[in-house]
Subunit: 176 residues, 2 copies
């Protein structure tokens, strides 16, 4: 078993059938599973015997994972979807510079975009954009600009995308 | 075992460790594995006993898969990366309207963007675009417009994206 290792593991949309063999292996090899409470609840049933460390939606879990790995443990830091996209790989790698004895491994996973598209059929068949509508850390004006740029990227889609943009603006007004 | 079924299966980047459990199950349940020769070569070692049908880069394999499923078989149509993104789910679903007795199941897989990003670290940490640089079916002017729109979508990235766009234009001129 590897030691002094943090694997940041993308779980995909949640059900165990969407885990890659690599993700399953990383969870299996870990001494401790760490992450946001909701994601820990997804993997605890698979490994009921494992130590877990569940946290809120903060970056503290990254430091906890690195500090724990530094004591000679293998830690799996779990994320829903992919490990990188809106995930913990980026903040973890930023902090990891302070822990040169700890190895970091990024284990990719299915994004919500891919797994949702598969349920719908094949809406993502060619070029596409992934744009978060959360304005918690991004100003809404920037989000609107990105949506408009995405619409401009395909003339054939202009009308539909403009319609969606209108609907989104309406929605945002509605929810306040 | 299900019958009259075509599962269009995203294999991810190639190695078996990147298969989801769902993809592995779909391959296991299939009577025949069908797809582009290069992708069939990836899965044949996993199931050496299975019937395979390897084809060129044409849409004929979609009709073959549907016709074979209609005879009462379960067919896995394999794609690299995801089943939808630059994959066969879209052309298969278009043709499937002609085969109402055949069920189609889309099994998502890791795109090259996700698996490549994991190797590099976390370059896809927030919003991103997937834009093909192949001008076989898309005019180069449209590709350039999409790249420019993607660059406009994030002011902080303008300089770098413009640099990349310049490099790409140079590259395209170089390769003729």
């Amino acid at each position: 078993m590897k030691r002094n290792l943090v694997s940041v593991v993308g779980l995909g949309p949640g059900d165990a059938q969407f885990l890659t063999a690599q993700a399953r292996h990383a969870l299996q090899e870990a001494d401790v599973l760490c992450g946001y409470t909701v994601y820990i609840d997804l993997v605890r049933p698979l490994y009921p015997e494992k130590e877990t460390y569940a946290t809120g939606m903060t970056r503290d879990r990254c430091r906890w994972a690195l500090q724990t790995a530094q004591t000679g443990k293998t830690v799996a830091l779990v994320c829903s979807g992919d490990a990188g996209v809106y995930g913990m790989a980026s903040p973890l790698l930023e902090l990891a510079a302070e822990y040169p004895d700890v190895e970091v491994e990024v284990v990719p996973g299915l994004t919500a975009a891919l797994s949702g598209a598969a349920v719908l059929g094949a809406p993502l068949a060619h070029d596409f954009c992934v744009i978060s509508l959360s304005d918690r850390l991004t100003p809404w004006e920037m989000i609107e600009k990105r949506l408009a740029c995405a619409a401009m990227g395909d003339a054939k889609e202009d009308a539909r995308a403009t319609y969606h943009l209108g609907k989104l603006s309406d929605l945002l007004e509605y929810v306040g």
